[in-house]
Amino acid sequence: MGTAASRQEPLAVRLYSSLLFAYPADFRREYAREMKLAFQDRWAEECGHNVARLWLQTLADVAWSAAREHLDQLVGDLRHASRTLRNEPSYAVVSTTVLALGIACSTIAFTVLNGTLLRPLPYPEADRLVAIDVTMQGQNSRLSWPEFAELNAGAGLISDIGGCAIASLMFMGDPSPEEVDGTEVTRGMLSLLRVSPVLGRFFTKQEHQPGGDAVILLSHALWQRRYGGDPTIVGKLIRTGSRPLMVVGVMPPQFGFPSGSQFWVPAVLDKWSNVKPTTLFIEGYGRLHASTSVEQARSGIVTIMKRTDAKHDSTSWEKRIDVKPLRAQLTTPIRSAVLAAMGAVGLVLLISCANISNLLLARASTRRRELSLRAALGASRSHIVRQIFIESAVLATLGGLAGLVLVLTIKPAILAIITARAPFWVNFDWDRRILAFVGCVSLLTTLLVGIVPAMRISDMNAIGAFREGGKGGSASRGTRRILSVLVFGQISMSVLLLLNAGLLIRSFLNLLRVDVGFDHRSVLTFRGSFPSTVAPSGIDAIRKAALAEIAGLPGVSSAAMTSHVPLSRMNKLRALTVEGRPVMKLRDTPTVNNIWASPGFFRTLDIPMVNGRDFAWSDRSAHIAIVDADLAKQYWPGQSAIGRRIRLGPPENNEPWHTVVGVVRSARMNSLTLAERSTVYLPITHVQWNSAFFVVKSATAPSSLTSTIRQRLDSVAGDTAVDQLQTMESVKNNVVWQPRFFTTLFGVFAVIALIVTAVGVYGIISYSVNQRTHDFAVRVALGASAAGLVALILRSALALTGLGVAAGVVGAIATGSLIETQLVGLESTDTITFAIVCGVVITTAALTSLLPALRASRADPIVALKQE
């Protein structure tokens, strides 16, 4: 129909023609002309009357019948795709498995991302909650009382301010005494979270006053565990080490603000104000006014803190104080690791899609006879392209379903590892975000898998060449090029993943090999809490007797006590003043780890005494100290440190001078990963705490010692709580669980990527060999040896692999800065790691290429030529 003819048509018919674009292209091609003619006749018949009714009927007809035609076509395509996959079960199974792996890995990684970084915190309007983030000398720290008091008084932009401080109580009675960690909270701290107790109430104003009622709020888990979920617990008195406390309420399940707290007691601000102004012990939180942004709150807080610093100049540590959304503060330690894991999983998914795309494309070109027949019978380009996409959609759906089954099977096991150590607010339950993610990933997979083969097939020249059965012709070469590009992409992404995984693995191994400077292999540790009936004046005798009992246990060679478990990052940091050196402002004073230790501590941990002596029980309150070798070398190089004097704490506090009586080898007492400070040890006889950590050198497994230890300690002091019993090896493992977990995850992803890529390399070499059967047959007929043929095939495979490896290496070098900070003991361009990974990939590619190469070398050239 020419343009002139269409101009003669009534406008109504032209409008109707445009409506016909609602129909599928094939249907339109077949029937549009007839439909237009039919409409034209009807318009001519009914024109002038019932025009509105005609158009209404026509629009309804187009809407209904076009939808039906599209549905018919979809059903037909789905049937065709299913038939195709049923006829090639191995292809369907391989593709579904590869996609399922990619989708399952992505879903699990997204579940972790969702549960940690995306899901709202379990508090109403959680986006208005902020934390006062304090950093001192690169480490997380807390506020001092003067700082908190100023905040509480003047933070106008934050509607509610609350403070928390660590508390610890010994719960007496059945089943056994137990030392439990909890929190002192200021008035309104818990209510600003807008979470109400499930039983009882919050604290009253009176209970926050000096002399107020002794009350406690229990966590749901503690209430269940120690009190059997007693519904009448509110109002009852419970026995603790210090005094009986009345339970006023129970918090909801999973509530453990701020860090897995098991109970809450009211903070008395008068008592807090008596704490030394340099002691950092308060965590601050707040809820913003509806109209206040975090930036506004931040600038307000900074102004207040500057005022505080000016007022308390000499007693201010050098700190950075910030206001952060609560979620950001909670997730900062894990954010980069989770995002990196998501990135790695994204690569695995891309590799899987490229792999299936390869398979589809290779299959499409081997189905050229079918395609050319269909093209000859009138199937349009768009029809064939649509069927490619439908086939990839079916594969993606099957892969998605299989991936979901895989996720349901392995997710609990993987998440159990994280959940055991994850903060209380993390939630990995299914939600609509995860389901939407699975849907989107399947859709994306459909597109990624189908787009390259669809574009290739949609090239009419290709179909034309298919019609001519152009094996080894330009269509075949074009397809081989695209397949090569896809495999190149897979290899380079795999190399990138493997390099990152390799660097993380070596870094983790370096971390494990860090010399902690003490024996952690045959040492146990536990927390022992004596009852409050033990008077401070008698505590040393109890400690000595307790250690003697523990040291007398079978298999135990030595026992001691300490204020902090090594490597637990709980060490107290204190300012150090050295006699004879200038006294500085607090913010400029160096800091050291301060540990209290009993006699025998160094012997138990195999920390050699370099000079001087160990503590003795007879030292009692003598002002003595033991320092480590690094500190001695720093302040008294080339001289003996024995007899020198040091002072701990802010200079203006006028703490007593301590005389150095011993020097021990330096050890990592605080952390495996952070830059370690020097350590000053003070005798445990200086402090009269009822609770301390025991370190015990023993060859016996800890689980078999728990009840024995409790019995021995009960025999000394009665009703002693024993908890946190573990080996020092386990303490060290706990410290590294996060790098261990993410290293393992990356490792698994990298191995999956390598396997999928190996399948891809095998696929393209097989395809290439099939396409060149004639070529190889001629070579063999002309005298080429089998070895020569194998070498020829391997050379082309290794050339492609080499390019992919080079691209992967360049990518890893370019992105190396992203993981540089996570690495311990090596750089992101570590030569050994790069060499190992490149070697593994090249060897894998060579081995997977060998099979089709050997097959080609063994084929009978006469048979091959006849088949052609």
């Binding site: 249907f27 007839e34 439909m35 003619l37 006749d41 019948s65 035609e69």
Partner: protein, 125 residues
């Protein structure tokens, strides 16, 4: 694309029952002889006194399915009669199509007989 109808010549007409109402009317319209699309539309409208007016989308969707099932076939282009457009496509009822139409009418007759037997409709209607 039309399937070869030879295959369908051996199919059982009963397997197509029940036939949708609009499809039956198309078969009836073609029982008199070949017709093009608009001709079928007019015939159906006239026979049902305007109660059933097939629109082009519905008609050609049904024609497509009838062609695929082998109940109708497209005939060779014939020279146009006066007043007819020779570019139009004409359709013819196949043997199978006729059998299916008859089978459907027989089914409807049987249903009518049962309704008369139950007294739902008077005998003789």
């Amino acid at each position: 694309m039309h399937r070869l109808s030879l295959y369908y010549a051996f199919m059982d007409p009963e397997s197509f029952l029940p036939v949708p109402q609009q499809t039956l009317h198309i078969l009836l319209a073609l029982s008199d002889g070949d017709a093009h699309g608009y001709g079928i539309m007019q015939d159906v409208a006239a026979r049902t006194n305007g109660k059933i007016r097939l629109s082009p989308g519905t008609l050609y969707g049904a024609i497509k399915r009838l062609l695929e099932e082998g109940l109708i076939t497209e005939v060779e282009r014939r020279s146009a009669l006066p007043g007819e457009d020779e570019r139009r496509r004409y359709y013819r009822l196949t043997k199978l199509g006729r059998s299916v139409a008859l089978a459907e009418l027989a089914r409807m007759e049987e249903t009518l007989k049962q309704a008369r037997g139950l007294g739902l409709i008077p005998k003789g209607v």
